[in-house]
């Protein structure tokens, strides 16, 4: 077990450096620089341009900038935003809870609905139910998030007036930030209606962000279940005359869960990607919206820092999933060791 964990952690080191190179390189490969982005139509003399680049620490050769960047990263310094002049880590930590909150509710929605309908489809394999569920999930999987979000906003928020249009809570509530998780902060604030308002604002973004993971989880659960259901031990269990609930719930589901948990773990990446669009549509003050804005304004330090932080989080989640996987399926542990 110890070696298994150690090996998994050691694997993260090259991945970490790979990510830093990509985060550092990609934003610099985009034409233009932060100063040009600020200047707009304005004519700027090369001297003035150089002067501001110097202030931003962008005057040095690229390799030196990279080494400085790595050196600072290893000391926990993610740099300072070109636009706001605040430490990247502060900005990230301020916005990250909003992304986690939305990601968690979306994930809960995806699992709570996706797993049962996946099992149901597997059990009812080949029937109209199965085809219906799989058809809908295919549609969900292919849904362009931006279009889907706007459609829901216009219908539920605009035409029927059932949900708020966008934002995280009604502007009438000025909830003090304690944890950054608005649902919790709203409860802590004791303001009447704050929690309801925050919940109300979560409905549409949760559905939009949860749609693709839900579809994937439903489909994967179905195929994992189908595989397990054709195993000998399931046939034996059936032959013993066990009730369907015991056969599916105890024997089949436990083994199918190995695949399902992996898939759920992998969805963290999908959620982060989806968060970029979802947050933009719903004016959700999270990391996704922040990264996009930083790319547009060529805020090198924000993009570099933000991407590395996100990658670190995804890597940690994957590590946890790997470890969990090992615990659920001891065969993996043994072969690895």
């Amino acid at each position: 077990m110890f070696y298994f964990v150690l090996k998994r952690i050691a694997l993260l080191v090259p991945i970490f450096f790979g990510v830093t190179i990509m985060a550092f390189g990609f934003i610099r490969m985009l034409p233009g620089d932060p100063v040009a982005a600020l200047a707009g139509e304005r004519d700027m003399t090369p001297e003035r341009h150089a002067e501001i680049m110097l202030k931003l620490g962008l005057d040095k050769p690229v390799w030196q900038q990279y080494l400085d960047y790595i050196w600072n990263l290893l000391h926990g310094d993610f740099g300072t935003s070109v636009l706001t002049n605040r430490p990247i880590l502060d900005e990230f930590l301020e916005l990250f809870p909003a992304t986690i909150e939305l990601g968690l509710t979306a994930m809960i929605l995806a699992v709570v609905i996706g797993v049962p309908i996946g099992i149901f489809a597997a059990v009812k394999r080949g029937t109209l139910y199965d085809q219906g569920i799989m058809g809908i999930s295919l549609v969900g999987y292919s849904m362009p998030i931006f279009w889907w979000g706007l459609l829901l906003i216009i219908l539920f928020g605009g035409v029927w007036g059932l949900t708020p249009i966008s934002g995280r809570i009604s502007f009438l509530f000025d909830v003090e930030t304690v944890t950054g998780f608005l649902l919790i902060d709203a409860l802590l604030s004791g303001e009447e209606g704050a929690f309801a308002s925050a919940m109300h604002h979560m409905i549409l973004p949760t559905i939009v962000l949860g749609t693709i993971p839900l579809a994937i989880i439903a489909r994967q659960t179905r195929s994992a279940m189908l595989e397990v259901l054709s195993e000998d031990y399931v046939r034996t269990a059936r032959a013993k005359g066990l009730s369907p609930l015991r056969v599916y719930g105890l024997h089949a589901l436990r083994n199918a869960m190995i695949t399902v948990i992996t898939v759920i773990g992998l969805q963290v990446g999908t959620l982060m990607a989806g968060a970029i669009l979802t947050e933009t549509i719903f004016s959700w003050p999270g990391i996704g919206k922040w990264i996009i804005f930083s790319v547009f304004s060529r805020d090198y330090y924000a993009v570099q820092g933000g991407l590395v932080l996100i990658a670190m989080i995804i890597m940690s989640v994957n590590l946890v999933v790997d470890l969990l996987y090992g615990m659920i399926n001891p065969r993996i542990l043994h072969t690895s060791s």
Binding site: E41, L95, G158, F171, M199, S283, P285, F293
Partner: protein, 529 residues
């Protein structure tokens, strides 16, 4: 059953929201388009930054009258200019109160020290605050304030004298610009003593109509009406910026009553806004111009006849219909019609391919191969440069001119134009300070001829511009600029295309909101009914 349960839950939460709104007093919600970089307008120079800082929180020595570019007294009650036009002496307003917050309670009113602090911080590199918060004073640099200033002196507590190196009439307009906002010197001193200098820029203290309350990044900015505001307390008690980046979503919020005013609507939504019974769709010609510049340093564009011929060959109305879809007005001068000194006697080149062909023949041009550069970004003065270039390309083909359309990434685009690689290029400009100098001298003056799109330097034209800088008599300046526009049209260094129309959908209950030509959103006189 389940459906009705959902409906009940939603109804309860909506009711809670509604009852809370009754208790909130007069609250104006502005669905702003983005997050400010910070709250010091000398450091953060985007329109979004100014909307969040300069306009609600601060004042300037001079101000623009809302809805116009007319310069009126602000924190300076009056001013006088010396005979040689280099000395500006300002009499400051007395009894102007500062805001307060948890870091600072003012002990004195606004005075000359605050003026000196605000300008010296941007100007003097050895000022203790110069490098605080990154110290990029972009607008101060863009308006060439550093080279213009000789000295700033405090004559007494309520008199300040600015001495310039040479007369510069637009100077008074520059002082009304957002970057020239006046910050509290007392606050700065206190924060310096406490070693938290950046607080001055993050927890702003101003003299403006609204006091800053809080900012939740990327989400909401809150202000309270300032009871002691020197022009009288604003009519709204609370001002809220609900940051909503997507224009379609902003419109949905406006329709649903989640906000009262929204900037930058999608052109596609304008019809629906106009028809909505709860919304007033305000519009005003923007302080901008979109144009096609001919690179006059390259043959055959150094030939006036060729430039005129190519201008006549373009069907402007088609561009306005196809590209602007009603959100643009035809441009004939380099400055927009809302700006003083606009010469309405100028006659634009008529769309006339036949005459254009003849002119080209006279100029000895048989076959012309050239390029049209199209900007990769959307701007109010040019919502779709690619499409515009295609239309021009087709028009020119009719007179036998073959043009290739080229486009580069925005930064590179401007860099290559600076280097003069283009033959003709689409670009535009949005005014900073409402002064004609800010269009003509900046874009067409000989001083900028090495780097601007037309690379054009005309002694006579430039002479008028330089003369207009020397006098602060607006009537005289108007005459000079009018003459300059005549030369501009004859020489045709640009084919002027359009001025955008800016639209602001506003809910019916909003009173006294005016579109500002410079693009800022000003709420100090706004009321809700």
């Amino acid at each position: 059953m389940r459906k009705s349960l959902i409906r009940t839950t939603l109804a309860i939460s909506l009711a809670v929201t509604a009852s809370a709104s009754l208790a909130a007093g007069k609250t104006l919600v502005f669905c702003s388009e983005g997050s400010p970089g910070g709250f010091n307008p000398s450091l953060h120079s985007a329109g979004t930054d100014f909307d969040a800082s300069a306009q609600p929180i601060y004042n300037r020595l001079t101000e623009f009258e809302p809805g116009t570019t007319k310069v009126v007294p602000g924190l300076a009650e009056s001013w006088s200019v010396s005979a040689d036009g280099t000395e500006y002496t300002f009499k400051l307003r007395k009894g102007v109160k500062w805001h307060s917050n948890k870091h600072f309670t003012p002990t004195r009113d606004f005075n000359a020290d605050d003026v000196l602090f605000s300008f010296n911080r941007q100007w003097k590199t050895d000022h203790p605050y110069h490098s605080v918060s990154g110290g990029k004073y972009l607008y101060f640099g863009w308006m060439d304030m550093g080279p213009a200033l000789k000295s700033i002196d405090k004559i007494d507590d309520y008199t300040v004298k600015f001495t310039l190196n040479q007369p510069d009439a637009p100077f008074i307009s520059n002082l009304a610009m957002d970057f020239a906002s006046i910050l509290s010197a007392e606050y700065a001193d206190k924060m310096q003593t406490e070693g938290t200098q950046e607080t001055v820029d993050n927890a702003p203290i101003g003299t403006g109509p609204f006091e800053f309350v809080s900012y939740k990044k990327d989400s909401v900015i809150r202000y309270n009406g300032f009871k002691d505001y020197w022009e009288g307390a604003p009519k709204i008690d609370k001002l809220i910026y609900a940051i909503t980046t997507d224009a379609t979503v902003r419109f949905q919020k406006l329709k649903a009553g989640e906000c009262h005013i929204m900037p930058y609507p999608n052109a596609a939504d304008l019809d629906a806004m106009d028809k909505d019974p709860n919304i007033n769709l305000l519009s005003q010609a923007g302080l901008n111009v979109g144009y096609l510049g001919f690179n006059t340093s390259k043959a055959p564009f150094d030939n006036k006849s060729v430039r005129q011929a190519l201008s006549m060959a373009i069907d402007k109305q088609a561009i306005l219909d196809v590209v602007f879809k009603g959100s643009g007005s035809p441009a004939k001068n380099p400055i927009p019609p809302t700006m003083w000194s606009y010469n309405d006697d100028i006659v634009d080149y008529k769309y006339d391919p036949e005459t254009a062909k003849k002119l080209l023949a006279v100029a000895g041009i048989k076959e012309l191969k050239t390029d049209i550069w199209a900007m990769p970004v959307q701007r109010p003065y040019n919502p779709n440069a690619r499409r515009m270039a295609e239309l021009i390309q087709a028009d020119w083909a009719k007179i036998g001119v073959t043009a290739e359309i080229k486009s580069f990434e925005w930064g590179e685009y401007r860099e290559r134009i600076r280097a003069g690689e283009h033959s003709t290029a689409l670009l535009g400009w949005t005014g900073d300070n409402g002064d004609p100098d800010n269009f003509m001298f900046v874009l067409l003056g000989c001083a900028a001829a090495k780097s601007n799109v037309a690379r054009w330097c005309n002694e006579e034209f430039d002479g008028y511009l330089r003369a207009a800088k020397l006098t602060s008599d607006q009537a005289e300046r108007t005459k000079l600029y009018e003459k300059a526009q005549v030369i501009f049209k004859q020489e045709a260094p640009w084919y002027t295309i359009a001025h955008s129309v800016q639209f602001r959908p506003v809910r019916k209950e909003v009173k006294n909101f005016k579109i500002h030509p410079l693009g800022s959103h000003i709420f100090k006189y706004v009321d809700l009914q």
